[in-house]
């Protein structure tokens, strides 16, 4: 088994020692299956994200790791030890809660030192103070120790919650939608800060989020969840380029979907025919066979928009134009295929000339840009 240095891609957890593992962990609430036989490993030092809509089971997975939920069946392992029914207070993991859950009756410093003070034998006061100061420095809140929690802004409270968790040097740091309550700019800053912190500390981070941008920008690996199961797991790039289903393609990045029936398949190439009789070629990875309902997924940046008609181009009308800085996002309408999203790079737009709403245009894409996916 080979150990990778920090910061390298950890797309394959099998190549590094596991810090946590789920073995067929299932959680039922009455009739609801919140976690459906989850089996996966988390590599040491990895930044792993659970991504999915609310109710997909990502929070349940995190809570089983923290010890707040006991699986109905199956096992949870932490650092090689079975912890399935070990209570939260005995587990070497710490959590950053969604709404921070900071203790309102304690100062910032006492909040951060809380975990250290629970250790037995109790560390002496000077040592706690020293570690708290270092944690404050790490989250750039030096000097804020004596403050009251309600004197801190939302962003500062977020940092206190982070410091309160990392000061204990947990084996795994659990983050439950930690940035959801912050405004966009602050969120961006914290994303970068979290990533930097994770590399510095070398602690395994497990993040739960419904925000794809958050997951894509920070994680080494993302598990996409749907109805209590992991439908795909892989590096952000892998998920973006090779989604296994329409659900995943829809959740990771933006995409255009053209629904139809798979007509022919030969190896990794196939053809989809729409209800209106249009046929498109595309790459094919899944186990789909001819006759199956399928969807052709094309990423907006892979569609070209031109004024002049060319061979194989489809005529469209421009509906809307949004300027995004380095890109311009066009919404165009095709008579049979419906609305398509097209992302045009600044240079390409300058070369071709811009479009205004109402203009006629033609869209093209390379056959290999289309990805034929199963509908589920």
């Amino acid at each position: 088994m080979q150990s990778l240095p920090h910061g390298t891609s950890a797309t394959d957890p099998d190549t590094k020692p596991l810090i946590a593992e789920f073995r067929a962990a299932t959680k039922r609430y009455g009739d609801i299956l919140a976690a459906d036989a989850l089996s996966f490993g988390i590599g040491k030092g990895e930044f792993l994200s659970f991504l999915g809509p609310s109710g997909c089971g990502k929070t349940t997975a995190l809570r089983m790791l923290a010890g707040f939920e006991t699986p109905t069946s199956g096992e949870v392992y932490l650092d090689g030890e079975r912890v399935t029914d070990v209570p939260a207070y005995k587990r070497p993991v710490n959590m950053v809660f969604q709404h921070y859950a900071l203790f309102p009756h304690l100062t910032v410093a006492d909040n951060i030192g809380y975990g250290l003070r629970q250790r037995r034998p109790r560390p002496d006061r000077a040592e706690v103070a020293r570690k708290v100061d270092r944690a404050l420095e790490m989250v750039r809140l030096t000097g804020f120790g004596p403050r009251r929690i309600w004197e801190m802004s939302g962003g500062q409270q977020q940092r206190v919650a982070l410091a309160r968790a990392i000061v204990n040097e947990p084996k795994v740091l659990l983050l439950d939608e930690p940035l959801a309550a912050l405004d966009r700019k602050l969120r961006r800053e914290m994303q970068i800060e979290l990533q930097t912190l994770q590399r510095q500390l070398g602690i395994t981070f497990v993040l739960v989020t419904h925000d794809q941008e958050e997951a894509l920008s920070m994680s080494d690996r993302i598990c996409i969840m749907q109805s209590g199961r992991i439908v795909q797991s892989g590096s952000p790039t892998a998920l973006y380029d090779q989604p296994v289903s329409r659900y995943v393609a829809d959740f990771v990045g933006k995409s255009n979907f053209i629904d139809g029936t798979l007509m022919t398949r030969s190896g990794n190439a196939g053809q989809v025919q729409t209800a209106t009789g249009h046929r498109f070629a595309g790459r094919l990875a899944g186990p789909l066979g001819p006759g199956a309902n399928a969807s052709l997924s094309i990423r907006p940046e892979q569609i070209g928009l031109a004024h002049a008609a060319r061979d194989g181009a489809e005529p469209v009308t421009v509906i809307n134009r949004i300027f995004l800085g380095e890109h311009t996002e066009y919404l165009v309408r095709h008579a049979a295929l419906g609305d398509l999203l097209v992302l045009v790079a600044r240079q390409a737009e300058a070369a071709e000339g811009g479009f205004a709403p109402g203009d006629a245009g033609h869209v093209t894409w390379a056959p290999e840009a289309g990805l034929i996916l199963g509908l589920d």
Binding site: G67, A88, Y89, F97, A101, Y114, G115, Q118, W150
Partner: protein
Amino acid sequence: MQRRLTTWLLLAPAGVWFAVMLVLPLCFVLVFSFGMRAPAGGYVPAFTFEQYANLPARGTAFLNTLTLAPLGTLLSLVIAYPLAYFLAMRADPKWRTTLLILVIVPFWTSILIRSYAWIFILGGQGLPAIIEWLGFGPVRLINTPFAVLTGIVYGYLPLMVLPVYVSLERLDKRLLEASADLGAPPLRSFLQVTLPLSLPGVATGCMLVFILLMGEFLIPAMLGGGKVFFIGNALVDLFLQSRNWAFGAAVAVTLVVIMLVTVSLYMWLMRRMGGQRDDMALM
């Protein structure tokens, strides 16, 4: 202008009520307390500290009140806290309202009738008879401090349960998860998180019960049988029986001062302890 007028008009009934029914009588009592008893009872104007100097004559009443009121408050708290904790943290939410109503139900019957019940329970034919039958010898329960304590704890328990319940119910349960996550076992989480955060409710309950107990006279009169009397009983006696208004006024003023000091102490403690803007307790 219009708005100010409306404000004043709306405040007028309460203002007049407090002025006529509270402030004015208090002024009378204060003036009376420096006066003298008329030979046939009543009040003769004077300015003397004689009545205050005479306070030790009613020392037993003060002693009883100042020991049994705090003790009763403490006992109520000890019994009420676990009950409130169960209602707020453990009880099935489906049953919570029903259980809360059950806590309040005794209030639907007059305290007078309920105290009569206690006379029978603690009297010769009640508990003492059972204790004697069990072979523990003859005991006297009625007309003892124990009987008075039982009566006041029983009577005022709901007033302690409710504020403590409210503070526990409002407690963010995620804080307990955070505490567990940081390595604190359940008992330590309780001591370090639940208890401190429920203190405003505890203080409010204690204040409510303590203030009412300081002025209590019915329960000592009924269950103390004239042997265990409170300041309230002394006042009834001084104003209605001995008709010594001046001395009664001095006792009353002293009681008010003791209460004022206690409440001020409470407010000061609350401000020091809590300090959280939205968590300031009642009063």
